[in-house]
């Protein structure tokens, strides 16, 4: 065991650090540039920065050269990301494109399409989104209802998608739709990439319970998509979607703070019965629990990085991350508010410890337990794919889609 870089990795890290020092500002103890700006300004700056990175060869460094990457080992991309995290650079718009759409284009699109679409994606010139979930197809993605039918060289799409992050600023999107309802649900799906500026696409932001709007509803009314933008064979949409979702699960990041650190800080300044809450054993036990969870996830990631660094494929251990971190965020938030006792309901940042971070995350955290796979679906996945337990009894597997009970 050795937490140090190899000489080669250390050299690369030094190079990156130097380049970042020349090209960006170190992070300071204030909101990051992305949080200081509104989304529109943020997007402009983020596109610029992504282009600078790409020019220097640091964007998607592990992607093949012909796609605009450098064909270097994955660990170099990770080292770059680790170093970039110490700098205050504008980010946050390209995760879905680079994490999900790029890899799927690389696998299924023609060479010409790859040459056309992937380089601008890497350079931040074109933003991509993902159109899978529907109002009646959340955990059960394959139950989706959006229809498509062939019309000449085109397909015509009608229906509704939901939970599409970035739909309103995206140039392109990947989409799965149902071309045949008489086939079993997983067999009647076909996959496309689409131009988000196509006529017939209507985008509405969704207001979340915390008041923010990170997601959209997207409505399709006779939207025409050329057959050349089909990815995979007709009826092979589910396999393509599954490959994409696998990429999504790898891309899921850490939960945002507060975590045990913020609770410790709060508990040091809060009094309980006249003594600092940090001396209270019930508080200490909670901090220890969350520390163990946080470090467990951190070191689990280190195991994954080790595998990547050695050119191996990571094991299933990463699957536990979101199950743990989403609930932890909700519990930490609630606990932090409770430590503030009767005053814990106030959300005015100017009046509150940590600028009301605990209160904000109390409202935000329920979404983390749902987005990207609910707690329940993730436990199913761990049980079936990692532990090898048998699947659910399925009533919807071998019948025509149109015969599956929907309750309506």
């Amino acid at each position: 065991m050795d937490f140090n870089d190899t000489p080669e990795q250390a050299a690369f890290r030094g190079e990156v650090r130097a380049w970042l020092a020349d090209n960006a500002e170190p992070r300071k103890d204030r909101p990051s540039v992305s949080r200081r700006l509104d989304a529109e300004e943020g997007l402009i700056l983020a596109k610029k920065w992504q282009n600078v990175k790409a020019e220097a060869g640091y964007a998607c460094r592990h992607w093949p050269v012909e796609h605009g990457g450098q064909g270097r080992p994955m660990i170099e991309t990770i080292i770059y990301d680790q170093e970039e995290a110490s700098f205050d650079v504008p980010t946050g718009f390209f995760g879905i494109g680079l994490g999900m759409c790029g890899p799927i284009m690389a696998k299924y699109a023609t060479e010409e399409q790859q040459a056309r679409y992937i380089p601008p994606m890497i350079r931040g010139q074109e933003v991509w989104c993902q159109l899978f979930s529907e109002p009646a197809a959340g955990s059960d993605v394959a139950g989706l209802r959006t229809r498509c039918h062939r019309d000449g060289d085109d397909w015509v799409v009608n229906g509704q998608k939901v939970w599409t992050s970035g739909a309103h600023y995206s140039d392109y999107g990947i989409l799965v739709a149902r071309h045949d309802s008489s086939l079993p649900k997983h067999k009647g799906l076909t996959f496309f990439f689409i131009d988000m500026k196509s006529p017939g696409i209507d985008i509405k932001p969704i207001k979340q319970i915390n008041g923010g709007s990170n997601f959209n509803e997207v409505f399709f009314t006779n939207v025409r998509v050329p057959d050349s933008q089909r990815l995979g064979a007709i009826g092979e949409g589910w396999q393509v979607a599954i490959a994409t979702l696998m990429n999504e699960r790898l891309a899921v990041g850490d939960a945002p703070p507060p975590d045990f650190r913020e609770v410790m800080k709060l508990a040091a300044s809060c009094l309980l019965d006249g003594k600092p809450a940090l001396e209270d054993s019930a508080v200490r036990e909670k901090i220890a629990d969350w520390y163990v969870e946080s470090m467990g996830m951190k070191h689990t990631k280190a195991r994954t990085l080790t595998a990547l660094s050695q050119g191996r494929i990571p094991g299933p251990e990463n699957s536990i991350g979101k199950v743990i971190s989403a609930s932890k965020l909700q519990n930490v938030s609630s606990f932090g508010a409770d430590l503030m006792d009767m005053g814990g309901v106030v959300t005015d940042p100017s009046l509150m410890p940590a600028a009301a971070l605990f209160q904000q995350s109390y409202l935000y955290s329920p979404g983390l337990r749902i987005a990207g796979g609910t707690d329940e679906i993730l436990r199913n996945i761990i049980a079936e794919r990692v532990l090898g337990l048998p699947g659910e009894i399925r009533v919807d597997r071998d019948v025509p889609y149109s015969d599956i009970p929907t309750g309506s």
Binding site: S133, P135, A136, G138, S139, D140, G143, V162, W163, I206, K207, Q208, I209, G211, C270, L271, L272, D273, G274, A282, Q330, S334, A337, D338, L339, M340, D341, M342, G343, G344, V345, V346, T347, D348, L351, M352, P353, Q359, Y362, L363, P366, G367, R369, I370, A371, T374, D375, E376, R379, N380, E392, R394, V395, D396, V399, I404, P405, T406, G407, S408
Partner: protein, 370 residues
């Protein structure tokens, strides 16, 4: 053995539920939540006044209808179920109880009839910001009948007519009544997790105030008020928790995934069974607390703490797992899930958090054992 509400009390409950179903469906708390200009639902409050609900537990000699606390508990449970956006808890559970317990005959004569009629809204101010308020760390002072200091959050403090304030004077903690329209009082709405119930930050700058109860006995008096209020808050929380369970059951039966209702999956079934279990534990403790409140039993401090703890736990769990049961739609503003999730936290922190009440509970058990 008759551990049940009477037929008349059950009828009152049904009647209150029917009234609130008509007068306060979830569009009402949502409207107040979304409009900063509407601190509470005025027309609903008028109807509640007209129903004489404010004076249920106030003796007739002071303008109330003198029913008793079991009747008040029944109404509280229904207000909680309806997540009613009105200053009922501040005016009835806190201000009225403080005056009943600590007020002089003159104060009772002056304040109770107005509270009973809804002519005045009262509230109670303890918290001075984030962190547990204790007798030792009170910053607000009462000197020569003048109050100075800042209280935040004060529930309904922006709309109340008067406030009972916990302050420090030469003898320790004391309670004082202050007219919130008086000179030396400034107040502003403060944002909270649950904007369907308004809260204020109130600054006293030498505002005239009148002692309520004995000087130096304010902390004990506050504890007695909070013991009584704890049962009533717990009844509201129980009602809210039941509403979440009903909502989750309804959704789980009607929402299909993988060709079957999601309520047929054990992960959902057992989640809702756990919700039911917590709600039943809360109900049993709440009803016992209601009995102890209504009879002013020596068991009240422990019974109130147990009701409060169980109800906090039940509403917290039910409101968050109701969102989870709904999945993505539960995280949207349009869904009603968040109305309960917000209210659960607001009520959980009113009159002190779970840990404060757990500590009181065990202290009470130690006293009983001693």
């Amino acid at each position: 053995m008759n551990f049940d509400f009477s037929d008349a009390q059950k009828a009152l409950k049904q009647q209150t539920r029917g009234f609130l179903r008509a007068a306060c469906d979830t569009t009402v708390p949502r409207r107040v939540l979304e409009n900063a200009d509407e601190p509470y639902a005025g027309e609903l409050w008028q109807q509640i006044c007209a129903n004489e609900s404010l004076g249920i537990a106030i003796p007739e000699e002071y303008g109330g209808i003198g029913f008793g606390y079991l009747e008040l508990c029944v109404v509280a449970e229904e207000l909680g179920r309806a997540i009613a956006p009105v200053p009922f808890s501040s005016s009835v559970y806190l201000a009225t109880e403080a005056v009943l317990l600590g007020g002089s005959e003159d104060q009772k004569q002056a304040l109770l009839p107005k509270l009973a009629a809804g002519e005045a809204i009262g509230t109670f101010a303890l918290s001075e910001g984030p962190g547990q308020a204790t007798e030792a760390n009170l910053q607000t002072t009462l000197k020569n009948g003048r109050l100075s200091g800042t209280k935040v959050p004060v529930p309904d403090g922006d709309v109340a007519d008067f406030c009972v304030v916990v302050a420090r004077d030469g003898n320790g903690a004391s309670l004082a009544v202050v007219d919130l329209g008086a000179d030396g009082v400034s107040r502003e709405q403060v944002d909270t997790l649950d904007p369907s119930r308004s809260n204020a930050r109130i600054t006293f700058d030498g505002a005239e105030a009148e002692l309520l109860g004995e000087s130096g006995q304010g902390w004990q008096l506050k504890n007695r008020v909070f013991d009584r209020a704890a049962v009533l808050f717990a009844m509201e929380q129980l009602g809210g928790a039941d509403a979440c369970l009903e909502m989750a059951i309804g959704y789980a039966k009607g929402r299909y995934a993988f060709g079957r209702p999601i309520g047929s999956f054990q992960a959902i079934k057992h989640k809702l069974a756990d919700m039911y279990i917590k709600n039943e534990l809360a109900r049993a403790n709440c009803y016992y607390g209601a009995w102890a409140l209504s009879t002013d039993a020596p068991e009240l401090p422990v019974a109130a703490a147990a009701a409060r703890v169980a109800a906090i736990q039940a509403f917290h769990f039910a409101s968050k797992e109701n969102i989870q049961t709904h999945g993505g739609i539960g995280f949207t503003w349009e869904s009603d899930c968040h109305l309960y999730y917000r209210r659960a936290k607001l009520l959980a922190l009113s009159i002190g958090s779970e840990r404060v009440w757990k500590d009181r509970l065990v202290s009470g058990l130690q006293e009983e054992a001693a």
